[in-house]
Structures are given as C-alpha cells and as structure tokens.
C-alpha cells in the first residue's frame, strides 16, 4: 500500500512539475521564414486597374519570453514582378530621329517591381496561460514601406503605426503548437504621394518632399488594415523547431485617393531556441 501511495505521489509530483514548466515557458528564439507571397492592389490615384504580384518573401524574427512577458521583433520583406493581369507583357516604344534622318526605335517591357518591407517590435502579455492554451495581447510598433517601382507612381506608401495584437496558441502536443493571431493599426502616420501625384518642393530633396507633402496622421477611421496569421510549429529537437506559417493582410486607405491591397503569404519556418 505504501509503495502504491509512494508511486502515486511521484506521479502527482511529476505532473505538477510539468505544469509548472508549461506555465513558466521562458526562452529566447530566433527564426527565419522563406516563402511566397501573392499581392493584389488598386491605387485609383494612378490607375483603375488591379495590379498583381507573385513575390518572394522572407522574414527574420527574434522573440523572448519570460513567464507571462513576451517580447518580439521582426523584419520582413517581399519582392516580385508587378503588373495588371491583362497586360503582363506590355511594352512601350520610343522612336527618335536624329538630324540626319536616322531613326532609332527602343522598346521596354513595363512591368513594375514590388518592394515591401516591415520593421516591427512588440510586447504581449499572456493573460491566460495553461498547459495547452495561451492567450496574449499587446502593442506593436511597426514601420511598413511599400515601394513598387512602376511606370506610374502607384502603390507607394509608408506607414508608421501603433498596432494592437491578439494571439492564441494551442499546444496540441508535447512537440506541436498552433498559433493564430490578428493585429490592426489604431493610429499612426501614413505617407503617400499628395493628390497631384508628384513631389517637388523648393530647397528639398524628393525624399524630403515626399514625407513633407504627403504625410497624414491617421486613426482607424482613416486607415484600415487587418493582419491575420496562422502557424504550425513542430519541435524538431531540443533547440530547433520547424513549421509552416500563413499570413494575410488587407488594407484600405482613402487619402488622397482610394488605395486598397491584400496579400497572403505561405512560408516554411525554422527557429532556434536558446
């Protein structure tokens, strides 16, 4: 009987210890994502057409967790060829004639190229934390730049925002976890080309004139963006994890003229915990 009680006590102790370890998840982790992204955008300031891009995307992040505090920082980018679907192989021609009557015809494909980047730091507090579930939320500060180089100036935007974030993690097994999150900007400063579509101010560079002439303080009423993500992670070894991650972003900004876009990214991840 005493042996049975002793064994039961040992089991109880081990269970309690495991729960404590789960509730006190603390780690430093760096991760890398490589994947593909699909973007659609319409910038009515410069075009009625919907432009499309299939992009290469990468992300590097760092996160630190200590008990209920979760710090994170990340940088990501995506780039790809941008064009309206109907005019993927569009060219424009330039014919010049010199004084002696010699004619030269040059042509160039006018596909654009996207270049989008995000730099983000955030903090979340885990206000629900059990052996199998964790719910956390907190603020993020992010600068997002969209700099497509196209024949027009469409799609160019910089957004420096304060976002609110909510994430849920389900530890479905000893080695697997699912994470779902959503965040949205609540206020910030957005910069696009002013209504005229050009930037040229006296005694200023184009960069200075872009920010001077096109920046507006925005809140949720002016600028809507939803970022949602879903990820699966598998603890491959003591230090290394692998996974798959899906991210979706939709945004709408009406200053000075309607700009809408959405993108979705699917990527493979690898991370190192230390």
């Amino acid at each position: 009987m005493s042996k049975i009680i002793f064994i039961l006590l040992l089991l109880l102790a081990s269970f309690t210890n495991a729960s404590s370890q789960d509730l006190n998840r603390s780690y430093h982790r760096i991760g890398l994502l490589i994947g593909g992204q699909q973007t659609r955008m319409q910038d009515q300031q410069f075009s009625p057409l919907i432009h499309r891009a299939n992009e290469f995307s990468g992300k590097f992040w760092y996160e630190a967790k200590y008990k209920r505090d979760h710090w994170n920082a990340s940088i990501d980018f995506s780039t790809g060829s941008l064009f309206p679907a109907q005019f993927a192989d569009r060219q424009i021609y330039n014919t010049t004639e010199d004084i002696e009557g010699n004619i030269t015809v040059d042509s160039v494909f006018i596909r654009g190229q996207t270049l989008t980047g995000n730099l983000q730091v955030g903090y979340d507090y885990s206000w629900l934390q059990t052996a199998t579930w964790e719910v956390r939320s907190g603020p993020k500060v992010r600068n997002q730049i969209m700099y497509p180089s196209t024949f027009t100036n469409l799609g160019t935007m910089n957004s420096a925002s304060l976002l609110i974030n909510l994430e849920v993690t389900w530890y479905s097994g000893s080695k697997t976890e699912w994470n779902a999150g959503i965040n949205t900007p609540v206020l910030g400063w957005n910069t696009r080309f002013p209504y005229s579509g050009t930037v040229s101010l006296p005694n200023q560079t184009l960069f200075e004139a872009f920010f001077d002439g096109g920046t507006h303080f925005v809140s949720f009423g002016d600028y809507q963006q939803v970022n949602a993500n879903l990820a699966w992670r598998y603890q491959l070894s003591h230090d290394v994890g692998i996974g798959l991650a899906y991210a979706f972003t939709w945004q709408r900004y009406l200053i000075p003229v309607s700009f809408k876009s959405y993108s979705q990214r699917l990527g493979a991840t690898v991370d190192l915990t230390f």
Binding site: P84, F87, R90, I99, Y195, S196, P202, L244, Y246
Partner: protein
C-alpha cells in the same frame, strides 16, 4: 504535417476568389470605359484648364457621342488626339502600347526632330571637352570663355554639388560662361533651383507653384514661392549666356526662369518649350498611359507661360542646314556677347 499544409493552402486558395470583394470589380476594357476613364482623369487631375481656356465639360459633350462599343483603337486615338490638342501642352500626351508615335497635345505634334542643336558639333568649338557623368559636359571656348552643357536635371543634387565644384574650379578664371540647355528635357525642379543658385549673388523670386489637391477644377494648394539664391561653395557671378531652344522643357524651363532673374545672365536662342508644370502618368483600362500637367506654374511676374515658353533676350535659331554644315550660330553669338 501534410494535413496542415493542405489546410493552409486551402485558406490561400479561398482568398484568391475574393479579389472582387477585397479590392474592387475589374474595370471593363471597352472603348466607352476607356473614354470615360481618360476624360475623368484629365477632369480630376489636369491643372491648366483656366490657363488654357478650355471647357473640358464641352469637350465631353462633343466627343462622347463619337464613342461606342464598336469604336476601334485607331478611331479612339483620333478622338483622344482631338480632345487634348486644344490644350497645347507638351506635358500632355497619351502613350499607347503599339510601336507608334505618342498622341501629342503641344508643339511636338509637328516638331519631331531637333534640328537647331547637335551636341556632336560642340567639340568643334570647345577645347578639352569633358564629359562629367551622363548629364554634364564642359570645357573652354576661345577667348577665355567657359562652356557648360547641362543635358538634364535628373541626377541628385549631390551629383550637381560635386559637378559644379569641379567645373567652377576649372572655369572660375574665365571672363564669361556659356550655359547650354538647348536639349534639356527637364528633371527635378529643386535640383534646377540649386544649380541656378550656383550663379546667384542675391536672392530673387522666380516662380510660384500651386498644384492640384482635389478633383475640382479650382482645387489647388496655396501658391508656393520658389527663390533662386546663392547655393554651394563656389559661385559664378561673371557674365553668363544661357542658350535655349524649343526643346528646353520642364525643369529646363524653370531653370531658365531662375537664371533670367540674375542680372548677369542673357538668354539667347529660341523660346523654350512652354511646359513648366510637373506631370503624372495615369493608366487606362486598355493599358495605355495618359500624361497630364497637374500644376499652375507662374513666373515672377505672375503670368503663366505654359504653351508659350520663355522668350530669349536675343532670338536666334540655327537652321538644320547650318547645323549639318558644322556651324552653330547661336553658340557663336554667345561667344560674341561674352567677348
């Protein structure tokens, strides 16, 4: 893991079908849609209807009945040409995606080739002709006169800071300089302002600019003054002759306005192009691009010279035969004025 990948991929594919909801329905590509988009684009963004005295609403009433579902591309091009022709604006044109000339509004509808200037002829007059990057050439003319060719104002201001430092370092002891912008198609107005400032001793207003800030024909920003004032380390304030032609455009013309406010500058050659405003490109549903002026640029006297150009102090235009025979009369006149 395979199941997870399938789930995530399914989510991706689901959203592909939601483009119309998340963005907008695709605009149809038909003659009527193209006409409406073209007319609306100019209606909401073109900044010179008052200056050009064109009733754009009347243009709609006149030309819309000519467009139907069966209008061909060739017919549409003719309609677009006839709509923008009265604007007489070298910054207003339409580029198609075929191998054909663009649809012009201004003098370049008929002026197709520059026959009054050839950069190849300049080394005949200029000793030690030096190419500084893609945009600048300089050297010495007879009689201790310097020569600077400014091909455009596209490079950054930093490029011009270094360029003008080097050039003035070599031409500072001359008794005069010829600044040649006869083939300058423009670039950045602020860069042109800086370069003009390298010739300035005092501050002068040379231009005011207001740009469209809304869809109404009278929706403009406040007028912003542009001054030419001393810039950079070394400046050149001895006599200057500025050579211009009908092919001097855009920032080349705002540069001309700035230089003309300087008392030691004389403009020789032909009127400039008459296209001062910035312009933008907007896409049409058929993939063509419509370009349009978006601002109201005025000289220091408060007048607009859009469609007119800046008139020289000395009007002199080379003929094609003179250029082909190896004579640049305008340059010779500039040298004569500086002797």
């Amino acid at each position: 893991m395979y199941t997870k990948f399938i789930l995530l991929s399914f989510l991706s594919m689901l959203l592909v079908s939601c483009e119309e909801t998340l963005i907008a329905p695709e605009i149809p590509n038909d003659p009527v849609s193209n006409f409406e988009e073209m007319w609306n684009g100019y209606d909401q963004w073109y900044g010179l209807f008052d200056v050009k005295e064109v009733d754009w609403q009347q243009v709609y009433l006149e030309f819309r009945p000519k467009v139907s579902a069966t209008t061909t591309d060739e017919e549409l091009k003719t309609i677009f040409h006839d709509m923008i022709d009265p604007l007489n604006d070298n910054h207003t044109y339409i580029i198609t995606t075929a191998n054909e000339p663009r649809i012009e509004s201004g003098i370049f509808d008929t002026l197709k080739v520059q026959t009054d200037f050839s950069l190849d002829l300049i080394p005949v007059y200029v000793h030690d002709f030096i190419h500084y990057g893609a945009a600048i050439d300089y050297g010495m003319l007879d009689g201790n006169i310097g020569y600077i060719h400014l091909g455009d104002f596209i490079p950054s201001q930093k490029f011009y800071e270094k360029a003008m430092d080097e050039i003035f370092g070599k031409l500072n002891d001359t008794k005069g300089i010829v600044v040649d912008i006869r083939d300058n198609p423009g670039g950045n107005d602020a860069t042109a302002q800086y370069v003009a400032g390298r010739f300035a001793a005092t501050r002068h207003l040379y231009m005011t600019v207001r740009k469209k800030n809304g869809p109404g024909h009278h929706d403009f920003t406040n007028s912003i003054p542009w001054h030419v004032e001393p810039t950079g380390g070394t400046r050149y304030t001895k006599p200057v002759v500025l050579l211009t032609s009908r092919w001097t455009q855009s920032a080349g013309e705002t540069f001309t306005l700035a230089m003309n406010e300087l008392p030691h500058v004389t403009q020789v050659g032909d009127f400039t192009s008459g296209a001062f405003s910035d312009n933008i490109a907007r896409e049409l549903p058929n993939g063509w691009f419509s370009f349009m002026s978006i601002g109201d640029y005025r000289a220091a006297d408060g007048l607009s010279y859009e469609g007119i150009g800046v008139n020289p102090d000395v009007v002199l235009v080379n003929t094609k035969e003179e250029i082909i025979s190896g004579q640049d009369k305008c340059l010779e006149k500039a040298i004569e004025l500086l002797q």
